[in-house]
C-alpha cells in the first residue's frame, strides 16, 4: 500500500481540474491494490509463482493474489515459463481476451529472451515481447518469489500512472502470430 501512495503527487492538484485528477487517482488506487493475475503457468517459473501465492510469501499481503483461471477476469498476465512456438498463438490469444487495462509481466529468462535454450533450441520464442507488449521483466531462472513480488510492485506503480484518456490510444490491434 505504502509504495502505491507515494505516487499521489499533491502538486498535480493545481495543474488539472481537481475533480478529474482525484477520480483518476482513486480509480488507480483501487486498481493497483487489487491486481488479479491470470493463472498461467507454463513451466518451472509457475512453481515459483505458486510459491509466491502460498503460505510463506503470501502475495495477498500486497493487494494482489486471487489467481483467476479465466483471462476475462484478470488484469495482469504473468508469463511464467518457456514460450514455445506451439504455445505462442495461445499466449497471444489469451492476452487478447483480457479486458483493458491489462499488464504483462515476463517472468524468467526463457520468457525474456529464450533463456538457456536461446542458442541451441529450435522451439523457443526468443522473447515473449515479440508477441505481446511486456511491462515488467523479472529475470532469473527461476526468479525468487521476492523478485516476483518486486515485479508486482512495479506493475502497481505503473497502474498508478494510468491516465483515463490514454486508454483509447493504447488499445492493441489483434495480430496473428507467425512462427519464425
Amino acid at each position: 500500500m505504502g509504495n502505491v501512495l507515494e505516487n499521489l503527487n499533491p502538486d498535480s492538484f493545481t495543474k488539472d481540474t481537481v475533480f478529474i485528477n482525484s477520480l483518476e487517482n482513486l480509480i488507480n488506487l483501487t486498481r493497483a491494490n487489487s491486481v488479479w493475475p491470470l493463472t498461467f503457468g507454463l513451466a518451472c517459473c509457475a512453481i515459483e509463482m505458486m510459491a509466491t501465492g502460498a503460505s510463506k510469501y503470501d502475495i495477498d499481503r500486497f493487494g494482489s493474489g486471487p489467481f483467476r483461471a479465466t483471462p476475462r477476469q484478470a488484469d495482469l498476465m504473468i508469463v511464467a515459463g518457456t514460450v514455445t512456438h506451439k504455445m505462442a498463438p495461445r499466449v497471444k490469444r489469451l492476452y487478447d481476451m483480457m479486458p483493458e487495462p491489462k499488464y504483462v509481466l515476463a517472468m524468467g529468462g526463457c520468457v525474456i529472451r529464450g533463456g538457456p535454450y536461446v542458442k541451441y533450441g529450435y522451439h523457443v520464442v526468443k522473447g515473449v515481447d515479440l508477441i505481446v507488449p511486456v511491462d515488467v521483466y523479472v529475470p532469473g531462472c527461476p526468479p525468487r518469489p521476492e523478485a516476483l513480488l518486486e515485479g508486482i510492485f512495479k506493475i502497481q506503480k505503473l497502474m498508478m500512472r494510468e491516465k483515463i484518456g490514454d486508454r483509447a490510444r493504447k488499445s492493441t490491434k489483434p495480430e496473428v502470430y507467425q512462427p519464425a
Binding site: T39, F40, G41, L42, A43, C44, A46, I47, E48, M50, A51, A54, S55, K56, F67, A69, P71, G81, T82, T84, K86, M87, R90, L94, P116, Y117, K119, Y120, G121, Y122, H123, V124, C141, P142, R144
Partner: protein, 376 residues
C-alpha cells in the same frame, strides 16, 4: 412426451487450464455429464532436451536436466550424473553418494508435497495447498543453503556434488525430519486423506487394474497404486540404496478398488514416511572425505560406447541412454521420462463409459504429471 434429444459436445480442456498441471490439452467428447472419449495433445512445452544435449558438453547438460522435471530436479541430476559415470566407468566418492541419497529423498518429499497440495486444490480443498507449501519451503530452504537455488539446483554433478554439506545443514535436515515425521503426515491424513468428501471424489474413480498398469508401462507411485511393488531403489539398486532399510508402499483398495485415484494419492503420502526413514539412516552413516572429483568438472571425455542408466524419480523410472563417440559432447541422448508413459493411460481410463467430466480433473491430478518431462 417427446424424447429429449441429446447431442455430443466437444470440450477443450487446456492448454491453459488450472488443473492440467501445465500446458496439457485434452479434447473431451461428452454426452451430457459423461465423458465418452478423450484425445490428449502434448508438445506445448517441448524444449528439445535431446537436441540441446548433442550440442553441449557432458558437464553442461546437467542444467538442462533440471528443467525437465522441474519439481524434482535433484533426481534428474542424479540420473544424468550416474549415467555419465557409468559411461566413464567411475564411481562418485562415498560422501557424495550419501549426500546424493539425502538430497534425492528430500526432493522426492518436496515433489510429493506439491502433488499433495495441488491435488487437494484440484478436488476443491484449498487448505492442504497452503499446508503443503509451508513444509515444502523448509526443504527448499535447506537446498538453498546447500547450493543457492530454490528450484533448478544443478547440484548433483558428474563425479560428486557441487558443494560439500556442512554440519549446520546436516542439523537442519535432522530438525526437518523430526518436525515432519510423524506429526505432519498425521496432520495431512486428518486434513485430507480420510476426509469424506475427498474419498467420495477419488475412491473408485479412474481405476487402473494391475494388468493395464503394467501394459502401459506405468512406473512410480502410479504403478504402485495398482498394487505392483516395483521400485528401482529396491529392485535394481543404484547409488547406495542397497544399504538402507525401507518399505515400498502399494495400493490395496482400502477405500475402493485397487488402483483408484485414492490409492495413487495414498502411495505418495506413505512414500514420504519412507523417504524420511532413508534420510535418517543416511544422516547416521555419512562419512567424511571428498565430495567432488574436481578434475571431472572441466573436461569429461568418455570412451566410445553407450550406456543406459535408470533411477527412480518422484514420478517413476527415469532413464538416460547416452551414445558416446569419444568426443566431449554426447553423440545422442535418449530420455525415458516417466510422466510421458504415465500420461498415455489417460485416454484408456476415460473410455470406460463411467467417467464424468468432474472425474477428469481427479484422474489427471492423481497421475501427477509434469509437462516439462512429458514434452522434454
Amino acid at each position: 412426451m417427446r424424447d429429449i434429444r441429446t447431442e455430443e459436445m466437444l470440450l477443450n480442456m487446456g492448454p491453459q487450464h488450472p488443473s492440467t498441471h501445465g500446458v496439457f490439452r485434452v479434447v473431451i467428447r461428452t454426452d451430457g455429464e459423461m465423458v465418452l472419449e478423450t484425445e490428449s495433445h502434448i508438445g506445448y512445452l517441448h524444449r528439445c532436451f535431446e537436441k540441446v544435449a548433442e550440442n553441449v558438453s557432458y558437464v553442461q547438460v546437467v542444467p538442462y536436466t533440471d528443467r525437465m522435471d522441474y519439481v524434482c530436479s535433484m533426481i534428474n541430476n542424479l540420473g544424468w550424473a550416474e549415467a555419465v559415470e557409468k559411461l566413464l566407468g567411475i564411481e562418485a566418492p562415498e560422501r557424495a553418494q550419501y549426500i546424493r541419497v539425502m538430497v534425492a529423498e528430500l526432493n522426492r518429499i518436496a515433489s510429493h508435497l506439491l502433488a499433495f497440495g495441488t491435488y487437494g486444490m484440484d478436488i476443491g480443498a484449498v487448505t492442504p495447498f497452503l499446508y503443503a507449501f509451508r513444509d515444502r519451503e523448509k526443504i527448499l530452504k535447506i537446498f538453498e543453503k546447500l547450493c543457492g537455488q530454490r528450484l533448478n539446483y544443478t547440484y548433483v554433478r558428474v563425479g560428486g556434488v557441487s558443494f560439500d554439506i556442512t554440519d549446520e545443514i546436516l542439523k537442519d535436515i535432522e530438525d526437518f525430519c523430526n518436525y515432519f515425521e510423524p506429526d505432519i503426515i498425521d496432520e495431512y491424513n486428518r486434513l485430507l486423506s480420510y476426509n469424506g468428501i475427498f474419498i467420495s471424489r477419488t475412491a473408485n474413480v479412474g481405476v487402473i487394474p494391475r494388468q493395464m498398469a503394467i501394459g502401459y508401462g506405468l512406473t512410480g507411485p502410479n504403478l504402485r497404486g495398482s498394487g505392483v511393488r516395483r521400485d528401482l531403489r529396491k529392485d535394481e539398486p543404484y547409488c547406495i540404496y542397497d544399504r538402507f532399510q525401507f518399505e515400498i508402499p502399494a495400493g490395496s483398495g482400502e477405500q475402493g478398488q485397487t488402483g483408484d485415484c485414492w490409492d495413487r494419492y495414498m502411495v505418495r503420502i506413505r512414500e514420504m514416511t519412507q523417504s524420511i526413514m532413508i534420510v535418517r539412516q543416511a544422516l547416521k552413516g555419512i562419512p567424511s572425505g571428498l565430495h567432488l572429483d574436481k578434475k571431472l568438472q572441466l573436461k569429461v571425455k568418455p570412451p566410445k560406447g553407450e550406456a543406459y542408466h535408470k533411477v527412480e524419480g518422484a514420478r517413476g523410472e527415469l532413464g538416460f541412454h547416452i551414445v558416446s563417440d569419444g568426443s566431449e559432447k554426447p553423440y545422442r541422448v535418449k530420455t525415458r521420462g516417466p510422466s510421458f508413459c504415465n500420461i498415455s493411460v489417460l485416454d484408456e481410463l476415460t473410455r470406460t463409459g463411467k467417467c464424468m467430466v468432474a472425474d477428469m480433473v481427479a484422474i489427471i491430478g492423481s497421475l501427477d504429471i509434469v509437462m516439462g518431462e512429458v514434452d522434454r
